[in-house]
C-alpha cells in the first residue's frame, strides 16, 4: 500500500510539526512543577451512564445494593460502549436523572461512600500475554477505558483492527497542546514506568513494531524522564514536537511524527498507526497490573480563578465543587469554569455536576480571559485561513453560515472535515465566533441528513 510505503520512507524523519495552527500562551507554569496529589474521597459519587460517543452503559446494580470500590456497576450497552465501575465502596442510592456538566440531566448511578471503609482494593494482576486479541479487547472494554485526552472515545474500538489492515506504530499522545493542562506532563514524569509498561502491552497486542511518544518541547523534564526510562533495545522512542496548538489532535500528531496525512474520512489505523493518550495507556497498565478499572483520573485544576492550583487524582463521579474546594475554592473574580482545556473544553453551568472520564482539567477563568471582544465585520485578513490546520477556509464558513448556506459549506468547502479545534476563532481579530458558526452548520447538516434517510 502506498501509504505504508510513505511511512517507511519517513521512518527516520521526525518533522516535529504539522502546518498552520496557532501559538496561544501555554499558562502551564501554575501547575507543571506540582506533583500529583490524591483528592480525598467525598461522600456522594454520580456516575452518568453515557460519558462518551456511542451507546450508554446499562446498570447491573439495584437501588440499595452495596458495591465495592472497582466493582462493575454498569455493563457496556453495545460495542461502542464501555463498562462503568464504582469509584468507592458504598451503597447505590439513586438510579435516575442527575445533573450533567452541560446543564442537562442524564441517567446516572449515584453511590454514597461508606465513610468507615478504608477504600482499599485487592490486587489482581491479569495475565495479558495469555489473552487472545479478542479477549484483550474485551478486557479493555470491561475495564471501562476510554480516551483520556478529552474526547473519551471508547478505547477498545481502536484496537479492533479489521482484517487486511495492520498496525505498525503505536503513537502515544503526550503533546498536551491545550494551555493550562499539565496532567499528562506530570503523569509522564511520575508514572513513567506504568506508561512504558502499558505501551509494551498495547504494542505487543497490536503487533506494532515501535512505540513513539510525541511530546511538545515545552515539557523537557517529561522528555528526559521518558528517555532515561527507556531501556536500550526497547522499541520505544520519544518524538519532541513543536509547541503549537492543536499538536495533540490525532491527525496533526500523525503528520508531525510520521509526516503522513490521514485521508479525510479515514482513521489512523488506515495508515498503520494507533494513537492513544498518555493517560489511557497508563490506565491500561494499571488495569493489567492490579486489576483496577478506570475509576479515577488525573485532573489539572488551574486557571487564575483557582486559589491553589494542583494536579489531582480524582475519583470519577466526584462533584466539580469538591475538586475546586480542595484546591482552595474559587476566587471571587471567577467568571467561568471550564471542564477540559480552554480551547476545546466546555463551560459548565453547575458546580454540582460530576467529573467524567474525559475531564482532563477544571479551569476557573476570570474577566480577563472570558471577556469577548466586540464583533466587527470580517475584513478578510486571512488569519483564520493561515491558522486552520485542516486547510479549510473559515472566513468563508463564517460568511456562508451567517447566510445559512449550509449546503454550500459542505459541498464546496468540506465543512464536515472541521474538527472544531477553534484556531480560527482564536486568531480572528474581528472577534467572530467562527467555530461556533461551523458547529451550527454541522449540526444543521447532520439533522438534515437524518431527515432525508
Amino acid at each position: 500500500m502506498n501509504l505504508l510505503q510513505q511511512i517507511k520512507d519517513s521512518l527516520s524523519r521526525n518533522i516535529g510539526s504539522f502546518d498552520h495552527g496557532v501559538h496561544p500562551r501555554h499558562h502551564k507554569g501554575q501547575t507543571e512543577k506540582l506533583a500529583i496529589q490524591r483528592l480525598p474521597f467525598g461522600k456522594r459519587f454520580v456516575i452518568p451512564l453515557g460519558q462518551h460517543i456511542g451507546a450508554p452503559a446499562k446498570p447491573i446494580v439495584q437501588l440499595g445494593d452495596a458495591v465495592k470500590r472497582g466493582q462493575m456497576i454498569a455493563e457496556p450497552g453495545g460495542f461502542v460502549s464501555v463498562a462503568l465501575h464504582s469509584p468507592v465502596t458504598g451503597r447505590v442510592t439513586v438510579i435516575g436523572s442527575e445533573r450533567y456538566a452541560d446543564g442537562t440531566f442524564q441517567d446516572a448511578i449515584v453511590i454514597e461512600a461508606d465513610q468507615y471503609d478504608p477504600q482499599q482494593m485487592d490486587v489482581n494482576p491479569i495475565d495479558w500475554e495469555a489473552l487472545s486479541m479478542e479477549d484483550f479487547i474485551g478486557e479493555v472494554q470491561k475495564a471501562g477505558i476510554v480516551g483520556m485526552g478529552g474526547a473519551a472515545f471508547p478505547c477498545h474500538v481502536k484496537y479492533a483492527i479489521p482484517d487486511g489492515s495492520s498496525i505498525r506504530y503505536l503513537l502515544i499522545n503526550g503533546a498536551e497542546c491545550e494551555p493550562y493542562l499539565t496532567n499528562d506532563h506530570r503523569q509522564m514524569m511520575e508514572h513513567t514506568e506504568a506508561l512504558l509498561y502499558g505501551a509494551e502491552i498495547v504494542r505487543q497486542k497490536l503487533g506494532a513494531e515501535e512505540v513513539v511518544i510525541g511530546v511538545e518541547k515545552n515539557k523537557p523534564e517529561a522528555i528526559v524522564a521518558l528517555q532515561n526510562a527507556i531501556k536500550p533495545g526497547q522499541p520505544v522512542r520519544v518524538a519532541p514536537l513543536e509547541v503549537k496548538y492543536p499538536q495533540g489532535a490525532e491527525k496533526m500528531l500523525i503528520k508531525s511524527v510520521f509526516n503522513v496525512e490521514v485521508p479525510a474520512g479515514k482513521l489512523p489505523r488506515d495508515v498503520g498507526v494507533a494513537v492513544n493518550n498518555v493517560g489511557t495507556i497508563i490506565a491500561i497498565a494499571e488495569y493489567f497490573q492490579t486489576g483496577k478499572p478506570l475509576i479515577e483520573r488525573v485532573v489539572t485544576v488551574s486557571g487564575p480563578g483557582v486559589t491553589y492550583p494542583a494536579n489531582l487524582i480524582v475519583p470519577l463521579g466526584t462533584s466539580i465543587r469538591e475538586v475546586l474546594d480542595y484546591a482552595g475554592g474559587l476566587k471571587d473574580e471567577t467568571r467561568q469554569v471550564v471542564l477540559g482545556g480552554p480551547m476545546m473544553g466546555a463551560s459548565i453551568a453547575d458546580l454540582d455536576a460530576p467529573m467524567l472520564k474525559g475531564s482532563s482539567g477544571v479551569l476557573a477563568l476570570t474577566v480577563h480571559e472570558t471577556e469577548r471582544p466586540q464583533e466587527y465585520n470580517c475584513i478578510r485578513c486571512g488569519r483564520c485561513v493561515e491558522a486552520c490546520p485542516y486547510f479549510l477556509n473559515p472566513a468563508r464558513f463564517a460568511r456562508l453560515a451567517k447566510a445559512r448556506m449550509y449546503e454550500e459549506m459542505a459541498e464546496t468547502y468540506n465543512v464536515m472535515d472541521c474538527v472544531e479545534c477553534g484556531c480560527c476563532t482564536y486568531s480572528c481579530p474581528s472577534g467572530i465566533p467562527i467555530v461556533q458558526h461551523i458547529r451550527t452548520a454541522k449540526d444543521h447538516l447532520r439533522s438534515m441528513k437524518g431527515k432525508v434517510q
Binding site: E261, L351, P429
Partner: protein, 336 residues
C-alpha cells in the same frame, strides 16, 4: 452550600483569544502612514494638510450618515473610514480644490464601501474608487501637479468654489511619470526615494513608504507577498522592456519608485478586504497587479496605472479565491 457560587458564564469555546483586534489593525496602518503623511505635508505645505483633513472628515461623516443608528459606534469604531479618507487624500494632487476632495471622499465611502454592505463586503478598494471617480470627473484638476514649495503658501486653487476649477497659481511641474511618458526624461532615484518631486501627496517619498510597510510587516498586519509580488513582477517586466529599448522605456528602479507604485503596493493592494484569502490567490493577485501597472504605464494612455491595475485585480479577487482553494488536509491524496 458553604459559599455562594459566582454567577457562571456559559459561552462556547475556545475561551482564549489572541489580542489583536480589527480596530488595532486599522490603527497600525495609521501609524505606518504617519511618516508618509507628515512628509507630504512638509513638502506641499499647509494646503496638503487641509486637503487630508477634508478627506478624512468627509469620509467619517459619510460613514456616519450611512450607518444604522444603533450600530454607529461599531461602524465608526473600527477606524476604517478614517483610513479610507487618509488613503484617498494621499493619492490626490496637492492643489486639488477641496470641494472635489469632498466629492471624492463621499464617493469613496458611499459608493466604494457602504452600498456593498460596509466594511468587509466591498469588492473594490474604497479609496481607489473615490480616486477613480475623481479622475474620470475632473481629469484636468486630477493631473495638475504642483512642485513642492513653500510650507505656508497655499495654492489658491484649493479654495475654488464648488463646481469651479480655480486657477493654479503655484509652479506646476510634470510628475516623474509624466516626464517619462511624454518626454522620455528620467528622474534620479535619489529624488524618488526622498520625495522631493511633484506628484500625489503621499506618493513622493519611497523611503518612508517602505518604512511604513516594514512596520506593518513587523506587526504582522501586512501580507508581505503582495508588495513583494507586485514589485518583483513590475520590475522584471520593465527590465525586459528596458533591455529592448532603454531610451524609450523606464528601468526597473524607476518603475518601482515612481508614481503610486509603492503607496499602492504597500497600502492599497494589501487591503485585506479586496485581496484574495488563499496563499496561491495572493500570488496571482500580486503578479497580476505588477504586470498590469507596467502594461498601462507603458502602453496605455495614462502615465500612471497603479490605480487601475489594483481595481482590475480587485474585480478578479472573488474569482481567484474560488479557484485557488488550498488542498484540504487529508483530501486529494493520490492513494489507492
Amino acid at each position: 452550600m458553604t459559599q455562594k457560587d459566582p454567577k457562571l458564564l456559559i459561552q462556547p469555546g475556545p475561551q482564549l483569544r489572541q489580542q489583536m483586534t480589527t480596530p488595532a489593525v486599522m490603527r497600525d496602518v495609521w501609524y505606518a502612514l504617519a511618516p508618509t503623511t507628515l512628509a507630504g505635508i512638509w513638502f506641499f505645505g499647509i494646503g496638503a494638510l487641509l486637503l487630508l483633513i477634508t478627506c478624512i472628515a468627509t469620509a467619517v461623516l459619510t460613514e456616519w450618515y450611512f450607518s444604522p443608528e444603533d450600530e454607529r459606534r461599531y461602524f465608526l469604531g473600527d477606524g476604517s473610514a478614517i483610513l479610507t479618507g487618509l488613503l484617498l487624500g494621499l493619492t490626490l494632487p496637492p492643489a486639488l480644490p477641496l470641494w472635489m476632495a469632498v466629492v471624492g471622499s463621499a464617493v469613496a465611502i458611499g459608493v466604494g464601501k457602504t452600498i456593498w454592505g460596509g466594511v468587509g463586503s466591498n469588492l473594490f478598494n474604497p479609496a481607489l474608487v473615490g480616486r477613480a471617480f475623481l479622475l474620470a470627473t475632473f481629469p484636468i484638476a486630477m493631473t495638475t501637479w504642483t512642485a513642492p514649495g513653500d510650507f505656508f503658501t497655499m495654492p489658491s486653487s484649493i479654495f475654488a468654489l464648488p463646481l469651479m476649477t480655480g486657477v493654479v497659481d503655484t509652479v506646476t511641474q510634470a510628475s516623474p511619470l509624466g516626464l517619462m511618458k511624454f518626454e522620455y526624461t528620467d528622474t534620479g532615484f535619489v529624488e524618488l526615494l526622498f520625495g522631493n518631486t511633484s506628484g500625489s501627496l503621499g506618493e513622493t517619498s519611497g523611503l518612508l513608504l517602505i518604512l511604513g510597510g516594514l512596520y506593518l510587516w513587523w506587526r504582522r498586519d501586512l501580507d508581505w507577498r503582495i508588495p513583494v509580488g507586485i514589485l518583483a513582477t513590475a520590475m522584471a517586466f520593465s527590465l525586459a522592456l528596458y533591455m529592448m529599448d532603454s531610451g524609450r522605456y523606464p528601468g526597473p528602479i524607476f518603475t518601482a519608485l515612481s508614481g503610486g507604485m509603492l503607496l499602492g503596493a504597500i497600502f492599497m493592494a494589501t487591503d485585506p478586504v479586496t485581496s484574495p484569502l488563499t496563499p496561491k490567490g495572493i500570488w496571482i493577485f500580486a503578479v497580476g497587479i505588477g504586470f498590469l501597472v507596467v502594461l498601462i504605464r507603458v502602453f496605455g494612455g495614462f502615465p500612471e496605472g497603479m490605480m487601475y491595475a489594483i481595481l482590475l485585480m480587485n474585480a478578479a479577487t472573488p474569482l481567484i479565491d474560488r479557484y485557488t482553494q488550498p488542498r484540504v488536509f487529508g483530501r486529494g491524496l493520490d492513494t489507492k
